[in-house]
């Protein structure tokens, strides 16, 4: 069994994901309220309220609590001298290996929510694929970007 990659993403990332979860839940809540109003207007059976409520609670549990937590514990990365290794996934755990030689460029990006938490995501591109590490401290992301680009330049094609 291979060892897991060592680095975890920022703990603030968990908070951001919870925030996303809350936003998604709000959308579902609004939908539930909408259907509740319909039930009221058309006088459909009362147990539909219960179903709507259960659905909302259900989603809230998964989107706000469980998924972010599992996702966060799963997410690991490691940047070694000649390769990058990632591990992520909620249901399906994916472990990706990207040799430094194959790295074409590295980007960091930051949306408004990530900026508020001083986080950034970093995207590593090869000729064929893109790989994103979703939430790193801005400082860390910038450092990593620099490091990867230096390592990628040094790495030699050995095959």
């Amino acid at each position: 069994m291979r060892a897991q990659p060592v680095n975890q993403i920022s703990e603030k990332g968990l908070r951001v994901w919870r925030l996303y979860g809350i936003m998604q839940t709000i959308v579902i809540l609004l939908l539930a309220i909408g259907s509740g109003v319909l039930v009221y207007i058309f006088e459909w059976p009362g147990w539909l309220y219960a179903i709507a409520a259960v659905v909302v609670v259900f989603f809230a549990y998964f989107l706000i609590y469980l998924f972010p937590k599992v996702r966060w514990t799963r997410w690991r990365y490691e940047v070694r001298e000649s390769e990058i290794e990632l591990q992520h996934g909620i249901f399906i755990v994916k472990r990706t290996l990207i040799p430094m030689v194959r790295v074409q460029h590295v980007d960091t990006s930051q949306g408004p929510i990530l900026r508020k938490y001083d986080l950034a995501e970093i995207t590593i591109s090869t000729a064929a694929t893109n790989h994103t590490i979703p939430a790193l401290l801005t400082e860390e992301a910038d450092g990593l970007r620099g490091r990867i680009s230096v390592l990628a330049r040094v790495a030699e094609d050995d095959v």
């Binding site: 069994m1 291979r2 070694r80 001298e81 000649s82 390769e83 996934g89 249901f91 399906i92 755990v93 994916k94 472990r95 990706t96 290996l97 990207i98 040799p99 430094m100 030689v101 194959r102 090869t126 000729a127 064929a128 694929t129 790989h131 790495a155 094609d157 050995d158 095959v159």
Partner: protein, 499 residues
Amino acid sequence: MSETRYKLHWITAVIQVLKTVKEMILPLLVIVFANGLNSSSSGVWYLDYLSFIIFGAFIIVFAITGIIKWKRFEYWFEDDELRIEYGLFVKKKRYIPFDRIQSLDYTEGILHRPLKLVKVKVETAGSSSLKKSEAELTAITKEAAQIIEHEIAAAKMTKKAVSLEEGTVVEGIEAEEQSQVKSIFTMSVKDLLILATTSGGIGIILSGAGIFLSQFAEMIPFEWMYEEVSGFIKFGLLFVAIAVFFGFFVVWLLSVGMTFLSYYGFSVSLDQQDIVITRGLLEKKRMTVPLNRVQSIRVIENPFRQIFGYAAVAIDSAGGGGAEGAKINLFPLVRKKDINGPLKEIFPDLILVEPTRKLPARSRRFYYRIDFLWMVPAIGAMAYFFFPYGLLSLLIVPVIIFYGLWQHRSGAYELSGNQLTLRFRGFSLQTAFLMRKRIQSMEVKQNYFHKRRQVASVTAAIKSGIGTFRAQVLHMEEAEAERILSWYEPKTEKKGRQE
């Protein structure tokens, strides 16, 4: 140095116009029909003929722009670059360094043939746009095409000579002079016929016909048609069935004909470091793939063709032609036993072994179990809503299970030196030969159930055109998946670990 500026052949203007007309044909037809169909004469002649006047005006405008575009288009060689100047209103210039030119692809259309002309597409490593190649010379004489090739070759040679100044120069030039084209593969008419008759082009043509019909849907007089159709039904169902069958047959014949025309005279040859593929009867195409741009080699065995012992070989190339250029048919149809010889000739380093390592028996279930997720509700619904006959949908269960088992049996892999061979089945059986240095990234996937049974899926990503081709063997032994991942790990790192 003063450069001669070359122009394209005048036929370019004609081709331009025809191309624009082809693109505009639908809107134009709509205009014509919309106007032409209301037969009430207004008495004013130019209103009656308005549609035709518009049509004519468009044609004239197209013709003029076509001629201007042709007049404006110039190309020449300067500073080891192919320079092109063109543009209708805005003059655009494009300079392509010879170094970056990967290949010149030739196409001879029906209009080119009698005049001994070719269309030249200049392919570079990273073509920026999706569908277009870097530059396209619509029609030039074959001699002019040869001049371009010579210019590029000469420039590359002097460069080599400069960079290898000490002694090796002679060797380089000698190798260059030995340039000879070696024929590797040709397709006989019999093979061509088999390819054409078993090709899957039917679906494409059908969908094409569907799209075409949907364009005209508004214009088809449906009321009249319904009457006809009800009359049709009176003739009896048999007649309808025959008509449908006949329709399919015609479509199939069309697809056979089209495949035949486009693959006629298919031949592959090796010109030093380039694979040259020529094909086509009416429209001759010549495509060049530099060997060092080949990313993967795949042997694809369609079950229907497998019965007759036939397979196909495709390669993925990194450069050029976008989605279309991604997967190139190297041998569109070849007897399975005849694959190795020619393939070995093109790729001497290739290890052409049948992958022997199979998947463990305990991973069998993963190939069909996931399908129950949709099967159970689907069958339940069928059985509920169409009670007695809906139960027939249960028959799909063994089909899916057998299909899964079939896929499981087909899966195999092999590690040999720097080469990874993956075999997997969607419907056709694919065997992908991947060199380690061509794999862009690699992924091992595992869900909860996989982990419990110690199985994992392996995916290797390969650059193909501007996109990605993913070769994956699902549900293999976990330890083996890890072994493949460690094999893929760069060597320097491994050494570091051992020390």
